[in-house]
């Protein structure tokens, strides 16, 4: 006898739930929970990681990301305006920049700044400069596209109304176009911040002093320092989530707000 769609869906859900329970049960029996606990979740050895994990690791991750995001925002705004320019050379330059930095792995940029710049120019950049500028260069390419889309999403009639009232072009941009674009781009910009937070870990390729260690470096070094298996890496991961999860909740909130507004 043929089943109705609803009966079939219920049966399918039942099978899925059953498989899940079986899988959990098998894991619970088969896995060596003791070994997992000591290598990943050695709670007793977490204590000594404080306060360095926050005051050094988390602090440096936040500092590298913040500098990178600000530089990226600045560069991204310039690139977005260049892409929207009526002067073709500006558009080509911006397009070339964006394609280049979106097309190569961010780690190459870190290597280029970490080693290339000191060889080529003899400058000795510190880790904050390397990380901030590298993230800024890469972030600018992504942020430029986000900002361009946001500026273009403001209806043309808005700028026409502002210009018809007698606002100069720059005033229409500052008072009318940018404030509306900001509301549109806040959710995607928050996502950029999340990506940059994670990419700040790439600074490890240039070697960091203990004081300059960000979360990933802190976790890797911690394996030896704290003799707690991989627990420091897990702790570092939790710290990343402390940054990224609130950001993504924030992004979702803003997205919901803008979508109900319009």
């Amino acid at each position: 006898m043929a089943m109705t769609t609803r009966e079939r869906a219920r049966l399918s859900l039942g099978i899925q739930a059953g498989l899940f329970v079986v899988a959990v049960a098998v894991l619970a029996v088969v896995m060596d929970w003791q070994a997992i606990a000591t290598s990943f979740f050695d709670v007793e050895r977490i204590g000594p990681m404080f306060p360095d994990i926050l005051l050094v690791g988390l602090k440096n991750t936040l500092a590298y990301t913040a500098v990178g995001f600000l530089l990226g925002l600045l560069g991204g705004l310039v690139l977005a305006l260049m892409k929207l320019s009526s002067f073709p050379v500006y558009r080509w330059l911006a397009t070339g920049y964006i394609e280049f930095f979106r097309g190569i792995p961010a780690i190459l940029v870190f290597l280029a700044l970490g080693f290339g710049v000191s060889i080529a120019f003899g400058w000795n950049l510190d880790s904050l400069q390397i990380a901030g500028v590298s993230l800024g260069l890469v972030g600018a390419a992504y942020i430029a596209e986000t900002l361009r889309a946001g500026l273009q999403a403001v209806p043309k009639g808005q700028i026409e109304a502002a210009r018809a009232l007698g606002m100069p072009a720059w005033r229409a941009m500052v008072s009318i176009q940018i404030p509306q674009a900001v509301r549109i781009v806040m959710p995607p910009l928050t996502n950029e911040a999340i990506l940059l937070t994670k990419d700040s870990s790439l600074i490890f390729v240039v070697g960091l002093t203990a004081g300059a260690a960000e979360l990933t470096k802190f976790g890797r070094d911690g394996i030896n320092i704290y003799q707690a298996g991989l627990t420091p890496l897990v702790a570092a991961g939790v710290c990343y989530l402390l940054i990224t999860v609130p950001l993504s909740i924030l992004a979702r909130r803003m997205e919901r707000r803008t979508s109900t507004k319009k």
Partner: protein, 272 residues
Amino acid sequence: MAESTPAPDAAPGAAVVGEQAPAGVAISALHKAYGSNEVLKGISMTVEPGEVVCLVGASGSGKSTLLRCVNRLEEPNAGTITVADHVASDPDVDLDAMRREIGMVFQQFNLFPHLSVLENCTITPRRVLKQSQADADGEAMAQLRRVGLEELADRRPDQLSGGQQQRVAIARALTMRPRLMLFDEPTSALDPETVGDVLAIMRQLAEAGMTMIVVTHEMTFAREVADRVVFMDQGHVVEAGPAAQVIGNPQQPRTQDFLRRVLDPTHVDLDD
């Protein structure tokens, strides 16, 4: 329609136009093309200070483009336009100074959604004319009172009906004390029941002596309020003259045909 709706809460004879003298407009041999598509094919017309001129014609006839050339939202390809003492068609004209004297009302209202009704009316006086907040607020409230919406000053545009938004748009334009008002199909995007309120305000403005150029499909408004009606077709001025004459007794076959279609939409012309 317009006469059945009382003017919303406006003091009769209020200083509608402000102390600015109304401006005249002179257009001569105006051409405009988008690529190979010629939209305006040599338009010449004048609008006297204080005159109300309605531009009518089928969509695609070039009326909106003509209107948008007056404040240079569109760049004409050839010909001259003068608005008061500004040569609008001069590439070196101070566009911003000229536009401050020309108010414009759009079909889609184009209120700034991130600003309150009051801020919509004060942002340009404050940021461009450098008025104090008190002065700008005072003028804006006076204009909002004229369009009957001062109690909505703190609302956001998206909390208003279409007709209310268009009235705010008129108030916003008036806070700049313009000498000429351009209306680009101001009632075409409105629900029918709110059209009357907007037309009533435009009628008051006309009676107060404002120079107005109105692109419209509202033939009743054109007949009753306009001093002159200009009928356009395919980029040409086909017929122009006093409203009663052009609408009531059109001479040109194309005008007659257009008016028959507009005034009697169910009419089917079997010759087509």
